[in-house]
Amino acid sequence: MSVEQEKLLVVKDLATTFHTAGGDLPAVGGVSFDMERNQTIGIVGESGSGKTVLSRTIMGLQQRTNVTVTGSVLLSGFEMVGASEDDKRKRWGTEVAMIFQDPMTSLNPVMKVGKQIDETLRVRLGMSKVDAKARAIELLELVGIPSPQYRYDAYPGQLSGGMRQRVVIAIALACSPQLLLADEPTTGLDVTIQAQILNLLEELKERLEMSVVLVTHDLGVVATRTSRIIVMYAGRIVEIGSTREVFAGHRMPYTRALLESSPKVSNASHTRLTTIPGRPPNLLKLTDGCSFAPRCSYATDKCRVERPELQAADEPGHMFACWNPLPKTRRTVRK
């Protein structure tokens, strides 16, 4: 118990089900993991894997209608699942904050960006108007926006995508949260801007002693910037472990497929890509078996009827969900 209280985040059997016209859609099913302080973990998956829903459920942001959340999310010892909106609101911004995928839509288009920052400061921290403005300009400077005094009065539409994402980060950091959930923070940004933003996040994490959850579909984003990785498929964790272990010693065939099907800059041109057939399953029609079984070349009859639970691999903290795991050899990623 005391061990768990020290942890920043403990997620247990978390499940999020949307009730849609087509039936119940288990976007996240039975996810458990925990997270230390000052750590960066990555959540990786394709679209429909439940990674975005998972991050929003951790935050407690889902709308109240047509959704059922079960399980437990302990944030610094506080249970977020089932907490009242008021209790959650007290923690939003100050303990946990979020950065969204699309900086074009996550800022209020009819409000000056400076106002959007100092609104948080005034409402949450009770700062005076003058102090809040000064702090907002400081924050804009912190996230690397040139001439912040001038940008304070800009509307989001007058800023480029990269600049807007910096503003979103400034808002998220306004009340110095301990945990930052970054949902695809660089998707849609150009390569050079993406590198800038990721470096900024890393630098701020060190400086402000936060923890970061980096949610992404791009393995390249998490490869060198996280200490642990969670691989998700069809709403469930299929592999979890230290970054190095997941890349080099993965046991779940899906993890391998994900790694091998993305083209690499270091490979020669016209290198044949390894593919897996089919596409992610329809969450409305999940079977009892392993969700990846229909696309998996190792699948057996057992895989199709019984879902594998996460089991420990050799290295502590490394777990995978597979009946027929890949052999325990250490593969080298680089040739």
Partner: protein, 293 residues
């Protein structure tokens, strides 16, 4: 480019093997269609229906309430209200249909062409329409009808029809624009399709649902407008019955015979309600996101 179409989690999950996920039209929709149909049949075949002559004045039955003999009662001149309501629908229906034929006949092709061709043709036409749209159409309609005497059904149809052209133009242009910028239109061009083929094969089927639901709502608006004009005495002259002028005639004897107001009002409102409902359901059914008017 920077804005990738990213599907949200839910969408992608449902997108896979998406069935024909259309909202069903529902029974109310068909009841409304039936009612509109009934009204049209009534208007077309009023002469052969077993109802009285709407102009026949029976002085022994003045301002009588509903009875078996006169289902809706009679008015101050002893005319049968049921017959007058049925005959009165002719005016509303012809104004609604006629004006929209003019409005859509001119506005829709222009709007489609402008949005598809773009360029100077579009710029000039859109600016002209924009100016016309700023013009208060209702006031203009009242003004023209008050000067352009003697008033006739034909003139009313023309005035309302012409006044609706800029609005139809704008709706159709906006709708076309949202389709014409889609990649499949460019793809059709790339395959060497002629402009004609693109307009008829690619654009029209995608705009038709928007156009149809807007058409129905347009008909409803025009009928309501004609009613108001008739109420002000600016539509067809009595004794020809129309729903609007029946209400107008009844307003002075409200105290004596309220049925005279209630029946034409109910007929008009029910008709409008059905039109609006059909238009609304169709829009949901075809999943047309509301075009901003």
């Amino acid at each position: 480019m920077s804005n990738f179409p990213q599907f949200s989690v839910l969408e992608e999950a449902i997108l896979v093997e998406k069935p024909e996920a259309k909202e069903p039209l529902g029974i109310l929709f068909w009841i409304c269609v039936g009612w509109i149909g009934l009204n049209i049949v009534g208007a077309l075949f009023a002469n052969v229906l077993p109802i009285e002559n709407p102009l026949f004045q029976n002085y022994s039955f003045i301002n009588s309430g509903p009875s078996l003999h006169h289902l809706f009662g009679t008015d101050d001149l002893g005319r049968d209200i049921l017959a007058r309501v049925i005959y009165g629908s002719r005016v509303s229906l012809s104004v609604g249909a006629g004006a929209m034929v003019i409005g859509f006949g001119v506005g829709a092709p222009l709007g489609m062409l402008a949005a598809y061709r773009r360029g100077r043709f579009d710029t000039i036409l859109t600016n002209v329409m924009y100016v016309l749209l700023a013009f208060p159409a209702i006031i203009a309609t009242i003004a023209i009808l008050s000067f352009w005497t003697p008033r006739s059904l034909f003139k009313i149809i023309v005035v309302i029809g012409v006044a609706s052209i800029p609005l139809v133009y704008r709706v159709i242009r906006t709708a076309t624009l949202s389709v014409a910028t889609k990649d499949f239109i460019i793809a059709a061009k790339v395959q060497g399709a002629t402009d004609r083929r693109i307009i008829f094969r690619e654009l029209t089927p995608n705009i038709a649902p928007i156009a149809i639901s807007f058409l129905l709502i347009g008909v409803a608006t025009v009928i309501a407008l004609e009613g108001a004009l008739a109420f002000l005495g600016l539509s067809v002259n009595p004794p020809t019955p129309s729903w609007g002028n029946m209400i107008n005639e009844a307003r002075t004897i409200l105290q004596v015979n309220p049925w005279l107001v209630i029946f034409p009002s109910a007929a008009l409102c029910l008709f409008l309600l059905c039109l609006n409902f059909i238009g609304d359901r169709l829009r949901h059914h075809f999943d047309v996101t509301e075009v901003k008017l």
